[in-house]
């Protein structure tokens, strides 16, 4: 019996308006399926559509065509408000630039994600945020603001925030790209361990050896993205 697919993309295209009045197709994916509780690593050169693919799966940008199913839900059949709620409950997102909120402490940054999903009861939110941060080695940094944390610590907070609502799917866009090699190895190891331990479906944009070595599936954008390989069918040819 084949494993259940947590994410399925079918004939997904994404175009952006071009300066000449036409459209610039940046993504054209015929089919992509991510097995539940698997770790998939996306590779590709800069501008190959990796972040766009992650944003589409997160429901942050709308596809120009095609369907995206996440946890058996057609993401774009939902209204925007319901899609936001769905994202809060089912998808954790780790950004390359961490994107922590400067006015909030490490603990509050993690708790903030819980405000939008409302799956963790309010009385348990502080405790859960503390536990997640402790799991990532930040038990002594709960009250620290992002500017008082090292870059590695900031990214750990961002990872804890992505895990806050216990979502089944984690999207991570080069989470260690702005870290030095040693810190990147350390953070990536902790990240993969937590995801594996909790059975998350992980889609990771990374060139880290640790990630590549631990991946169940490695996808090269040059092969996945037909727009990238010149098979685009739209009027405007990508420059």
């Amino acid at each position: 019996m084949s494993p259940r697919s947590a994410v399925v993309l079918s004939e997904v295209r994404k175009s952006f308006p071009a300066g000449d009045g036409g459209n610039l197709e940046v993504l054209n994916v015929e089919h992509l399926a991510l097995s539940a509780a698997s770790c998939t690593v996306l590779r590709g050169r800069s501008g190959s559509g990796k972040t766009t693919l992650l944003n589409l799966i997160a429901g942050i940008v709308l596809p120009s065509a095609g369907t995206i199913e996440v946890e058996d839900t057609d993401l774009f059949a939902l209204s925007e408000a319901r899609r936001d709620r769905f994202r809060a409950e089912h998808i954790g997102y780790v950004f390359q630039s961490f994107n922590l909120l400067a006015a909030f402490s490490a603990l509050e940054n993690v708790m903030l994600a819980m405000l939008f999903a409302e799956v963790i009861p309010q009385r348990l939110q502080r405790q859960r945020a503390g536990e997640l941060l402790a799991q990532l080695g930040l038990a002594a940094r709960l009250a620290h603001k992002p500017q008082h944390l090292s870059r590695g610590e900031q990214q750990r907070v961002a990872i804890a925030r992505a895990l806050a609502n216990n979502p089944p799917i984690i999207l991570a866009d080069e989470p260690c790209a702005s870290l030095d090699a040693a810190t990147a190895r350390e953070v990536m190891a902790a990240f993969l361990a937590v995801c594996r331990q909790d059975g998350k479906t992980l889609l990771l944009v990374s060139h880290e050896q640790a990630a590549l070595g631990d991946a169940d599936q490695i996808i090269d954008m040059a092969e996945l993205n037909r727009a990238e390989t010149g098979k685009a069918t739209t009027a405007t040819v990508r420059q």
């Binding site: 408000a81 994107n99 903030l112």
Partner: protein, 396 residues
């Protein structure tokens, strides 16, 4: 964590800007509240302090000056009239009560008011009642043997520290004939609270001793006719006379209120301009704060915050600033009105009650919150419309 706590976190995150915005709102609201309370207090002070008498007869000159000097003790006294004017009025069959009044110098800032016992008498038509908290009223002593007795208004007693039986005088020449405190009045919430009442004989005696002045002058005579229909006749007669004028205090009050209304209109225009400036300041503060954190707003949206949620966060922020500024402004406005009332009372004798909580305060607060939300609306819409993917591009 709630939307309110997120909003407050953001406000605390830019503490200086938040404090400055709150202070600017508070200053604007304080100005409005103080202006409302002071102008209302002055009006009510004039009404409460107004005399129960229908006519004030004094020397020719400004009617407003006469009423302000005799009734409110605010302006410098008009020239004197002769005591015979009082005697004529007292004997006039159309007149029910005539009370002579002489406004003199001051003792420690509290004016001497010389009169007779009729000033304190109870009449059925009187609104203001004089009662003593201690002692007795002075006697209507004969002109040739003044008793030098004084009755102090409540504030005058407090301000001078004089008690029953105390003797006081001003000027060495009066050392042999000091005034003796024989009574202290209960508060009347009028200029009388700041007066030192003495008999006319005592006043004339003091002047004769101090200045060698032998004439017996008066500042004015308060007149109550038996019939209201006689007011017009008395008014005309006294105005036709060469030395005197008769003034209707209610007419002077109306003139004062009309002058105040013109000043109030000008003040209202200034307050509207202040309000608009504060509104623009709040808007600019909120707008720039929202622009600065579009990345954070995009992050929240990526974490699952709905557009309505980020809109609400910005609105709650501006609303919180408005509530804090509004409450601060109401308190500051009351403090300013209190100081203004104390200053007015000390300098002019006009007693006003600035602390009156009624519909004004909640109405002002509601308007401030509404305007605060309005100022935050466009920044909130900016937050609402923030494009997530565009604002999440990795930092270089």
């Amino acid at each position: 964590m709630t939307i309110l706590t997120v909003a407050i976190k953001y406000l605390r995150g830019r503490l200086l800007a938040s404090v400055l915005t709150t202070v600017s709102i508070a200053l604007g609201v304080g100005l409005v509240i103080a202006s409302i309370l002071v102008s209302r207090g002055i009006k009510e002070g004039f009404v409460a302090g107004a005399t129960d008498y229908n006519l004030v007869v004094g020397a020719k000159g400004s009617p407003t000056q006469l009423v302000l000097a005799v009734v409110f003790r605010m302006d410098i006294a008009t020239p004197n009239i002769e005591y015979t004017v009082y005697e004529e009025l007292k004997d006039d069959p159309r007149i029910d009560v005539a009370v002579p009044v002489m406004v003199g110098d001051a003792y420690q800032g509290f004016r001497y008011v010389a009169t007779n016992s009729a000033y304190f008498a109870v009449f059925p038509w009187r609104r203001r009642m004089y009662s003593l908290s201690s002692g007795r009223f002075f006697r209507d002593d004969p002109v040739d043997s003044p008793a030098y007795e004084a009755v102090l208004g409540a504030e005058a007693a407090g301000g001078t520290g004089l008690r029953l039986g105390d003797r006081f005088y001003e000027g060495e020449e009066m050392a042999d004939h000091p005034l003796t405190v024989v009574g202290i009045l209960r508060p009347t919430h009028s200029a009388d609270d700041r007066a030192i009442f003495i008999s006319l004989s005592s006043f004339w005696g003091m002047n004769e001793l101090a200045h060698g002045m032998v004439i017996k002058p008066l500042t004015a005579v308060l007149v109550r006719p038996k019939r209201l229909s006689d007011i017009t006749g008395l008014h005309r007669e006294r105005n036709v006379a060469a030395e005197t004028q008769a003034v209707l205090p209610s007419g002077v009050l109306l003139t004062i209120f009309n002058m105040m209304a013109v000043a109030q209109e000008a003040l209202n225009m200034i307050l509207v301009i202040v309000g608009v400036i504060v509104l623009i300041y709040v808007f600019v503060a909120m707008y720039s704060a929202t622009l600065e954190r579009r990345r954070e707003i995009a992050t929240m949206r990526a974490l699952g915050a709905r557009r309505a949620t980020v809109l609400a966060i910005v609105l709650v922020e501006s609303g919180t600033l408005a509530v804090a500024g509004g409450i601060g402004g109401i308190l500051a406005g009351h403090a300013a009105a209190y100081l203004a009332a104390a200053m007015l009372a000390a300098r002019s004798g006009l007693v006003s009650q600035p602390f009156q909580f009624d519909a004004v305060q909640p109405a002002v607060l509601a308007i401030v919150i509404l305007l605060g939300a309005l100022a935050g609306l466009l920044p909130a819409v900016l937050a609402y419309r923030t494009e997530v993917a565009e604002n999440l591009a990795p930092l270089s």
